[in-house]
């Protein structure tokens, strides 16, 4: 038995979504998102829970969750900073932004600060090439990045 359970709100959302798809299997991505918003990451327990809800195996859920880059299979920091490393951003100076972030936070890409405050990731094109260099900060996009802009943002947290 898994310890994880959907919140009441997510339970209702799940039931509602069931009416929107021809088959239950389609709910795997929406369910993984619900888990991630509820817990911050996707634990083994949650996978067992989802397997039961979706009528499949936990292994299957893991295989799906691990295919997509946005599902966190371990806990991450309160603030998730994801900097775009692809071409338009690179041409507009993303490398300076990236090294500033690693210096300021004292961690490498793919790492989380010890106090679990920040996780730093590099990601491929965010679809914000017109505002390069760009990053996402939790669910929001921040474009036209400069070192000053980042410092101001982090100072204000």
């Amino acid at each position: 038995m898994s310890e994880f359970k959907f919140s009441k709100q997510n339970e209702e959302k799940f039931e509602k979504l069931l009416t929107r798809y021809p088959k239950r299997a389609s709910l795997s991505l929406p369910s993984l998102w619900m888990v991630q918003y509820q817990e911050g990451w996707i634990s083994e327990d949650a996978m067992i829970y989802l397997a039961d809800k979706l009528g499949t195996s936990a292994m299957d859920i893991l295989s799906i969750a691990s295919f997509y880059t946005m599902f966190n299979l371990k806990p991450i920091g309160t603030y998730h900073i994801q900097v775009c490393k692809t071409l338009s951003c690179k041409l507009c100076g993303s490398e300076k932004i990236r090294s500033h972030l690693t210096n300021r936070l004292g961690i490498k890409f793919g790492e989380t600060t010890k106090d679990m405050k920040f996780t730093l990731s590099e990601v491929e094109c965010l679809g914000a090439c017109g505002e390069a260099p760009a990053m996402s900060f939790n669910d929001d996009y921040v474009g036209n990045l400069s070192i000053e802009k980042i410092d101001k943002m982090l100072d204000e947290l």
């Binding site: 929107r20 798809y21 021809p22 088959k23 299997a25 389609s26 709910l27 795997s28 991505l29 929406p30 993984l32 998102w33 979706l54 295989s63 799906i64 969750a65 295919f67 997509y68 880059t69 946005m70 599902f71 490393k85 692809t86 071409l87 338009s88 690179k90 041409l91 507009c92 990601v123 491929e124 094109c125 965010l126 679809g127 914000a128 090439c129 017109g130 505002e131 390069a132 996402s136 669910d139 929001d140 996009y141």
Partner: protein, 416 residues
């Protein structure tokens, strides 16, 4: 040069809200739409020559005609809002500034193919845009533009927004449908003959956001009005993008057939910091690179780019100035392709990584001219032996970088 068909309401304040959208022509096409038979709608779209804006440029109307007349399972319209091709950021503008145009387009197109449920598959990172779409959809349901009786007519339609989880390959239509069915986003093997896509066994059309957003104009104004823009083979307009070393990056709606050079200079304001243009990637990273001296006579349409050995793709142009290292830019893109290969086919999974490694070796100064033959071998391996067109297009672009900028690559080699 700039025209406003899809982008008409982009600059209007609060145009994403139903109240404002209704004042600016949204849902105007429905009266006419429902006075037509579904096949007449499709015929209008066929006659307009509308081509898909997701990168492939397939004729939209002809694709709709592949839906079987009778089928026991329901028909679906799936909107591709995965927008992950480097250099592409146009669909986002439609969803941000005019989501009701997309909904109106979905009503038009669903009616034509006989679909009563449409899914918008949006990339996972677009949280803000998914929210915006959902708000617009809620408004449309409340106002009776969606649901049991669309705008009071005898037609039922539901729309559901489905968020991806971060995977470039889910933009490929069959991978997208696998993902929508709740699986890993692996492209499917394609049949020999032309047939529709399938979602849980139901015949399905997958179209890009911008394609569908172009439909209400065609229904409202007729195919000739749409054809009055653009060229014979590339009718209408496209939301072109400019990014990289350009003074005015952004999205601009232009008729097909305008001069690429004029667009860069007059709309883009030229290359940043007064530098010279070195090269341009014309329509997202999966298009072959062009040298500055190749673009003089190029016009922005499918035919011109194809004749010049590249492709129009998504229309998202990336500009590279004279100081850019081409091997470095190519390495950047190969890290992308290496990371994004879905891994199903060995040549693709291994080949992309292999080229990436050779480029790293060249850039570190440890490469030799022999490595070029290896890259070409890898391209050969990638070409034509895989499930989807990801690998062949990677081979195609690799070839363009190393042949057009051979000397720059050679100058990195200390030995033969």
């Amino acid at each position: 040069m700039i025209v406003h068909i899809v982008s008409k309401n982009f600059d209007i304040k609060d145009s994403h809200k139903l109240k404002v959208a209704l004042k600016h022509d949204r849902y105007n096409s429905l009266e006419k739409l429902f006075s037509m038979k579904p096949f007449e709608v499709t015929r209008e779209v066929v006659a307009s020559g509308l081509r898909g804006k997701g990168g492939g440029g397939a004729a939209t109307g002809n694709k709709w005609e592949l839906i079987p007349k009778e089928h026991e399972k329901p028909t679906y319209l799936v909107i591709n809002a995965d927008e992950s091709e480097p250099g592409t950021f146009k669909d986002r503008q439609i969803m941000e500034y005019d989501p009701h145009l997309l909904i109106e387009g979905i009503i038009n197109s669903s009616y034509a193919i006989g679909a009563h449920h449409s899914y918008i598959y949006i990339r996972g990172e677009y949280v803000f845009w998914a929210k915006r779409l959902n708000e617009a959809i809620d408004e449309a349901y409340k106002a009776g533009y969606l649901g049991e009786k669309v705008a009071g007519f005898d037609y039922k339609l539901d729309i559901t927004v489905h968020r991806g989880g971060g995977a470039y390959i889910c933009g490929e239509k069959s991978a997208l449908l696998e993902s929508l069915e709740g699986k890993r986003g692996h492209p499917r093997l394609k049949p020999q003959q032309k047939e529709p896509e399938w979602f849980f066994g139901g015949p399905t059309v997958v179209n890009n956001v911008e394609t569908i957003a172009s439909v209400p104009y065609i229904i409202n104004n007729g195919f000739e009005a749409y054809r009055s823009h653009g060229t014979y083979c590339s009718p209408g307009t496209m939301l072109f993008g400019l990014s990289g070393h350009i003074n005015n990056p952004g999205i601009y709606e232009l008729p097909f057939g305008v001069s690429m050079k004029d667009v860069i200079e007059k709309i883009g304001g030229g290359i940043k910091n007064g530098k010279k243009l070195k090269a341009i990637i014309p329509g997202g990273s999966s298009c072959a690179i062009l040298k500055a001296d190749e673009i003089k006579n190029i016009t922005l349409d499918y035919e011109s780019l194809q004749q010049n050995g590249s492709s129009l793709g998504t229309g998202g142009m990336i500009l590279l100035d004279e100081d850019t290292s081409i091997p470095d830019a190519m390495k950047n893109l190969f890290e992308f392709y290496h990371h994004e290969s879905c891994g199903q086919c060995t040549p693709c999974r291994e080949g992309c990584g292999w080229v990436d490694k050779i480029l790293a070796k060249l850039l570190s100064g440890k490469g030799s001219k022999k490595d070029f033959a290896t890259i070409l071998d890898a391209c050969d391996m990638l070409n034509g032996k895989t499930i989807c067109v990801f690998a062949p297009s990677v081979a195609f672009i690799a070839h363009s970088y190393i042949t057009k900028f051979k000397n720059e690559f050679y100058s990195l080699c200390k030995t033969d």
